[in-house]
């Protein structure tokens, strides 16, 4: 058992998969000689050379298309976007060339590719560099969309993604790269993978279900610790995979707790939380809910808002639970939840 940062977990995962399968290679901006814009690919170019770790010019649409073409012709590329904001330049290649091809060809042409990079907000990088793309990509059939939280998630899910024959969008988080997490020996073995499409209950609870992904799982656990002192027992679910979503896990939890809060870094409308709420409300387990769910998320502001952006999710989340009428807080399920925007 040892503490491994998310960055190192990702690095080890790629290193092992590069070693295991000759067809795997990494391309993106600064991935080779710079050791990665965020040092996630540190040491890989030195070990594997120009053929397998490729620095690209700043041409997202071009290199993403090249990566997809290479996947069609039998290789297994890992295509890194410096952040997923830049993936918008290439989104046609991700959706129309990668995601849809297996269907359009009736199974003749698979596209085994992983698109990875940091997603969502960082610290003070402003609006153009802070968008969460989970909902955008999860909307599209043909893609798998994965959003790890801790080092074990990062390692197991990246290995699974690289071994998967489908196009996988792998949403990392820049602020998590440097965070160390304890990892078991088993999770550090070379064939350790986490199944895509399965959520994990990080903390058992009985009063309210908190569903989250990526960095906000950590926030939920922090909030749960605070609330525990006040007598509210939270169950925290780490989605791990956005698409296909593990609805059964959420349903099972809601059956137990009867209250649901979703926490994410994306915008409220048409988002991941909206989808979770819709699935629960339209599903069989709707009757288990005592009051309607609400979505809590960090509002992303334009302009040079700095560290207050960062604090916002925790403050808002806790404050909403402290609001009168909040189901989790009251514990008896009565009251009127407030949608936090």
């Amino acid at each position: 058992c040892s503490a491994v940062t998310v960055r190192d977990a990702l690095n080890q995962a790629m290193d092992e998969e590069l070693e295991r399968d000759e067809r795997v290679f990494l391309l993106g901006e600064e991935v080779a000689q710079y050791d990665g814009a965020y040092k996630v690919s540190r040491g890989l170019w030195k070990k594997y050379g120009d053929k397998r770790i490729i620095d690209t010019p700043i041409s997202e649409m071009g290199f993403a298309g090249i990566a997809v073409g290479a996947a069609m012709a039998g290789l297994r590329p890992i295509c890194e976007f410096m952040t997923f904001n830049f993936s918008m330049q290439a989104i046609d290649q991700v959706i129309n060339s990668a995601a849809k091809t297996y269907y359009m060809s009736a199974g003749l042409q698979p596209v085994p590719i992983v698109f990875r990079g940091p997603n969502g907000a960082s610290a003070g990088v402003a609006a153009q560099h802070s968008q969460c793309f989970a909902a955008w990509y999860a909307h599209c059939p043909g893609l798998k969309v994965v959003s790890p939280w801790n080092s074990e998630d990062a390692r197991g899910l990246l290995k699974a993604a690289i071994r998967d024959d489908n196009p996988v969008v792998f949403l990392e988080n820049e602020l998590l790269y440097g965070v160390p997490f304890e990892m078991s020996d088993e999770s550090q073995s070379k064939d350790f993978t986490i199944p895509i499409g399965k959520a994990k209950v990080e903390r058992q609870g009985s009063h309210v279900t908190l569903v989250s992904h990526s960095r906000f799982v950590g926030h939920c656990l922090d909030a749960a610790a605070v609330l525990a002192k006040e007598g509210v027992d939270c169950e925290v679910i780490n989605l791990r995979t956005i698409r296909p979503m593990d609805v059964e896990c959420i349903e099972g939890s809601v059956m137990k707790t009867n209250h649901l809060v979703t926490v994410e870094g994306g915008w409220p409308q048409f988002g991941v939380g909206a989808e979770i709420c819709a699935r629960i409300m339209e599903g069989e387990k709707f009757t288990c809910l005592v009051s309607s769910q609400f979505i809590s998320q960090k509002p992303v502001q334009s302009g040079p808002v700095v560290h207050s952006d960062l604090c916002l999710p925790v403050v808002f989340f806790r404050s909403c639970l402290q609001l009168p009428g909040c189901p989790g807080y009251q514990g008896n399920g009565r009251g009127h939840p407030h949608a936090v925007r």
Partner: protein, 343 residues
């Protein structure tokens, strides 16, 4: 042989009731005949010289054609032509729905390129793909079934006109220009795997202005990808003429640092020689560099309102180097009995 001709001649005269002996000019007579052993096995033709860009020399100006090759190219082009005309008819009958981008008039490009590359090479094109789908090995039945949305189609009816695939053929791509980076990626895979294969990546005059092409040219040149970029210029991007869309219509120069050739796309031998030249240029071990071909064609009527059907009829159908199907010159008689062509 002569005895047989005499017998046939007499029989014909009997049938038509004329006497061969009387020397009447009316009546059926066998006038002339050729046996297979009389035909020339091979001929050499002059072809148009290609304009070059960043190249010392272009492809040869003379092309050799064997009897078998000529027949094969002719059959290929004729088949594609008739398939496309049929598809046109089916489309107008609403038996084919959605999109149906036809390739009639451009057959020499597909036939010429396929003649120059190996089946183990790779090819990717845009949505005007029916011709290439055939030349890359998909049967007419599977193509037409796919166009009409049937289960027997090459993509089980799920792809349609624009999304047909075969081994080493990557479609059929609906988004203008998106296939160009894909093609460079396929070339990267060839280079990565060291298999001496190349990728032919086609696009149209309309796609020639897409930004992702220039991103691709940059990376292809930087990494020396074994890729031939081919611009099929049919003078119109939908309804917009090339003069109205492009500041420079010298598409073979638009790759800038990538060498280029301007090729007569209506001549199957010219296309073949240029593609051969380009393939040799690209393959690993030689110059290993990308190359851009511009296939200039007469503007066929692509169903656009501007040109109309009469312009299409004006195009010479199926050329086998200066010899039209309708015009049986002595050269063609040297090659084939007319029955072989007319079947």
């Amino acid at each position: 042989m002569k005895t047989m001709l005499a017998i046939i001649s007499n029989a014909l005269c009997r049938i038509t009731g004329r006497s061969a002996v009387s020397g009447s000019t009316l009546g059926a007579r066998v006038v002339a005949s050729r046996s297979l052993s009389d035909f020339t096995p091979q001929a050499t033709f002059d072809i148009k010289k290609c304009d070059v860009h960043r190249l010392e020399a272009g492809p040869p100006v003379r092309a050799e054609l064997t009897r078998e090759q000529g027949l094969q190219y002719y059959r290929t082009m004729q088949t594609v032509r008739r398939m496309e005309l049929k598809a046109d008819q089916l489309y107008k009958q609403k038996i084919i729905r959605g999109f149906c981008h036809l390739y009639d008039g451009q057959e020499a490009c597909a036939a010429g390129i396929e003649a120059a590359i190996n089946p183990s090479d790779h090819l990717i094109t845009a949505y005007r793909a029916h011709g290439y789908t055939f030349t890359r090995g998909v049967s007419i039945r599977e193509i037409l079934a796919e166009l009409t949305g049937r289960r027997g189609g090459v993509a089980k009816g799920k792809g349609g006109s624009m999304h047909m695939y075969a081994p080493h053929f990557y479609g059929g791509n609906g988004i203008v220009g998106a296939q160009v980076p894909l093609g460079a990626g396929i070339a990267l895979a060839c280079q990565y795997q060291g298999n001496n294969q190349i990728c032919v990546t086609l696009y149209g005059d309309g796609a020639a202005n897409q930004g992702q092409l220039f991103e691709t040219f940059n990376m292809a040149a930087l990494w020396k990808l074994p890729c031939i970029f081919v611009c099929e210029n049919n003078k119109y991007g939908m309804g917009t003429s090339v003069e109205r869309a492009s500041a420079s219509t010298d598409y073979y120069k638009r790759g800038d640092f990538i060498p280029g050739l301007r090729v007569d796309g209506m001549d199957v031998l010219c296309v073949r020689e240029a593609a051969k030249f380009a393939a040799d240029h690209c393959r690993a071990g030689k110059v290993s560099e990308a190359l851009l071909l511009l296939l200039a064609m007469r503007a066929p009527a692509r169903g656009d309102a501007i040109l109309g059907r009469h312009a299409f009829l004006g195009i010479t159908p199926v050329r086998v180097k200066g010899l039209t199907f309708a015009n049986v010159s002595s050269l063609i008689c040297d090659f084939y009995g007319s029955s072989e062509l007319l079947h």
